[in-house]
């Protein structure tokens, strides 16, 4: 099965079989151009044997003038696997929407063949192109070739991280704003913050064109920009009838699953009480030919999502319920600057914006960033009577 040369990798070889594409095969392919891959296989086999990883903790390496974009990585058994004694990754800022030409991909491959392991992640969880494994000395040359080819590093450390966007208006009929453009512009706007970690911790921005949220912005971006619309759902009755004829049970599959039950179906006519619609996308998802988001497009801005470390995972919460599509960039910049100002000054070390909001309380946070409290920001008002009344409110 496996052609593993001299090295014995009995355990991981078992990961070459089966219908799903095999990362072990990939590493073996990359051996063609990089001896490091052979040692990587060896160390991985060791990990599989011992049930424990064999990488040392971090290490600060990078390219000149940048504080991030490279993750230092060293083997803890370098004697055995000298070719991966250093095995740093480089994070390269992907193009918005992860679109490529074959040419641009080949350019990247060629650079990585010259300077690294030939292994990549397409893509990292934040969205970057990950060049997986190289030596310290190769960082700067790789970087030089990358920038010459028009690519730059992504983020790591306590900085603005590489923003990402769903495919949006490039190929999706539901995008209520131009996610890829906004993502690209935000990224370019904050190159300094992206490359030179200035914050208490990381800050992520993700752009989804509608409430389906295909980049999981609400779950993992400090600033989550999610497209929506304000006017009525556009409705094509003939197409509704077509779906009904084709076997969609409009009552059960559409109306009954609408979260606000604002849809009615009398067997021939679908009615939507748009005032009650919460723009969840379900009905549109089921019948894309018949229903479309309205024409008054824009986005919801939400803040604060993050993984569990430290105060538990959070989803982003609503800050601005609706920003018209043509004001998104401007609003994003304005909101970001206000949030950063406050976070910079009051955020604890390794405290994400969402944790800061919870720690100081949303009302205080709103004061700090100069937003008025509105009921859209909460799922329900407080149920406890422990109110800190402010002096000025008293008589």
């Amino acid at each position: 099965m496996a052609d593993n040369g001299n090295r014995k990798t009995e355990l991981i070889d078992q990961l070459e079989s089966g219908p799903w594409p095999s990362f072990v095969k990939e590493i073996k392919k990359a051996k063609e151009t990089s001896p490091a891959c052979d040692d990587l296989l060896g160390q991985l086999e060791l990990s599989y044997n011992q049930k424990v990883g064999h990488w040392k903790h971090g290490g600060i390496v990078g390219v000149m003038g940048y504080g991030g974009g490279v993750i230092g990585r060293y083997s803890d058994v370098p004697e055995e696997f000298p070719a991966i004694a250093h095995f740093h990754t480089m994070r390269i800022n992907m193009p918005s929407g992860w679109f490529y030409t074959s040419k641009s991909l080949r350019t990247l491959c060629d650079i990585w063949e010259r300077h690294g392991s030939g292994l990549t992640n397409m893509h990292g969880s934040t969205g970057d192109i990950i060049f997986l494994g190289t030596k310290t000395a190769e960082l700067e040359p790789t970087f030089a070739e990358l920038t010459a080819a028009g690519f730059d590093l992504g983020g790591s450390g306590s900085c603005m991280r590489t923003p990402s966007a769903c495919v949006g208006q490039a190929r999706c009929e539901w995008a209520s704003y131009d996610t890829m453009k906004i993502c690209n512009e935000v990224t370019h706007e904050y190159q300094d913050e992206l490359h030179r970690p200035p914050f208490p911790y990381k800050f992520k921005v993700k752009c989804s064109g509608c409430a389906n949220d295909c980049v999981a912005a609400i779950a993992r971006a400090d600033l989550s920009i999610i497209g929506t619309w304000k006017d009525d759902i556009r409705q094509d009755d003939a197409a509704v009838a077509e779906y009904a004829a084709k076997g969609i049970d409009i009552q059960k599959d559409v109306c009954d699953l609408c979260p606000t039950k604002c849809m009615g179906w009398d067997g021939s006519k679908l009615t939507i009480n748009n005032r009650e619609c919460v723009h969840c996308m379900h009905c549109i998802n089921v019948m894309p030919k018949a229903l479309r988001p309205g024409k008054e497009k824009g986005a919801v801005f939400l803040l604060g999502a993050k993984a569990p470390i430290l105060q538990g995972a959070q989803l982003s919460s609503v800050m601005v319920p609706f920003v018209p599509a043509d004001e998104i960039l401007e609003t994003a910049k304005e909101l970001i600057s206000r949030v950063w100002d406050f976070w910079d000054e009051y955020g604890n070390n390794r405290e994400r914006v969402g944790e800061l909001i919870q720690r100081v309380g949303m009302a205080n946070f709103l004061d700090a960033i100069g937003l008025d409290p509105i009921p859209e920001m909460i799922s329900a008002p407080r149920d406890n009577p422990y109110i800190f009344f402010k002096e000025e409110e008293e008589e």
């Binding site: 392919k29 599989y48 990883g53 040392k56 074959s102 040419k103 030939g118």
Partner: protein
């Protein structure tokens, strides 16, 4: 030495526009609707009547440049050189020529890249580094993904689930996959407090920062000549101390392993996004093929597939039937670990007399 004068910095990513298929460029923002042409195959139609076809194939995410070049070749052959990757690491080939779909699909499948992942399928598993590249990993990432998807590949190449099913994996509590809102999350966990390297601590770490890093306050100034002490009963193995200080390793071959979480979602469709909830607190690491993890995930998928209603995501299904029934149907044991004891624990107790018998 690098010539600093020529050094290019802060140029940011290349503009995406140059990478867009001409049909996409022309119809940008003008797409009207889409149709499914079968698993992995999408057709988007523009207001102009133009159509763009997408062929989506699986990827191990960890790709050798050789494979990327192979994709580039296919793109040239069938797609005028245009392709993209998805937010779940699949590859999407984009063409305006419907006739190219079949041969492209064929070549992909032959090369070992299944075509699918659309609609009510299991798409690719979002995952992280594991033993391939991270120091923090309580388990491997790519290996488990491979084993689970080998078992579930049919669910990728067909679209017969009640709804989309998103599986994610993170190899430690840092949760780089942001797996906390997945239909099924596979999460590496430690189960032993850090083993303090007392000599190293003062050399490589700031002790006050280290002490402050522990969310439960388990790290205390040391006694009896030790630099720091860890109150073992107060440690829940989050690894944050290790992140800030390498001299606090948590790895432990026998006690590291995997937990399984279910019922999360990200989309706002129908219901608000949901966190994944604990299903199985611990399964030991069993490389190379992790049979127990595979079995556990497949079991949950199959029970869901059999019982959920059309359009019901995992979490929606479980909320409809109730958690007791979920544990009953899946045969998963309910334990003390399922009961929350973190910050918002009080909000997860069953504070109602509504009960099924």
């Amino acid at each position: 030495m690098v010539d600093m004068s020529k050094r290019i910095t802060d140029i940011g990513p290349p503009n995406y526009e140059q990478f867009l298929h001409p049909v996409i460029k022309k119809n940008y923002g003008q797409w009207k609707y889409h149709e499914s042409l079968g698993p992995g195959l999408l057709c988007h139609t523009s207001e102009s009547g133009d159509k763009i076809y997408s062929v989506r194939c699986a990827s191990p995410r960890l790709l050798a440049i050789q494979s990327i070049r192979f994709f580039a070749d296919l793109a040239d052959k069938y797609c005028d050189g245009y392709l993209r990757f998805t937010s779940r690491n699949n590859v999407e080939f984009l063409t305006d020529k419907q006739d190219n779909i079949a041969p492209l699909k064929d070549e992909l499948q032959k090369a070992g890249y299944p075509v699918g992942g659309t609609n009510n399928a299991i798409s690719n598993i979002v995952h992280t580094q594991g033993w391939v590249h991270c120091h923090s990993a309580a388990t491997d990432a790519s290996g488990i993904v491979k084993c689970v998807m080998d078992a579930l590949c049919d669910r990728f190449t067909s679209e017969n689930l009640p709804a989309k099913l998103r599986i994610s994996l993170a190899c430690c509590l840092n949760m780089c996959g942001a797996v906390h809102c997945s239909d099924i999350a596979i999460l590496g966990v430690h189960r032993k407090p850090p083993k303090v390297n007392q000599e190293q601590v003062p050399k490589v770490c700031e002790v006050p920062t280290l002490i402050a890093s522990c969310p439960t306050g388990a790290i205390r100034p040391g006694t009896e000549g030790r630099v720091v002490d860890v109150v073992e009963e107060q440690c829940m193995y989050c690894g944050n101390c290790y992140t800030v200080c390498p001299a606090m390793p948590l790895n432990d071959p026998e006690n590291d392993g995997i937990s399984i979480w279910v019922g999360g979602k990200v989309s706002n469709a129908r219901c608000a996004p949901k966190f994944s909830k604990l299903a199985i607190p611990f399964i030991p690491n069993e490389p190379p093929r992790w049979p127990k993890v595979v079995e556990a995930v497949v079991n949950i998928v199959e029970v869901y597939a059999k019982n959920a209603k059309k359009f019901e995501r995992m979490g929606e299904w479980i909320e409809r039937i109730g958690w007791p029934r979920f544990f009953e149907l899946t045969g998963i044991e309910f334990t003390r670990y399922h009961i929350d004891d973190f910050k918002f624990a009080g909000t997860t107790y069953a504070r109602s007399a509504q009960l099924r018998y």
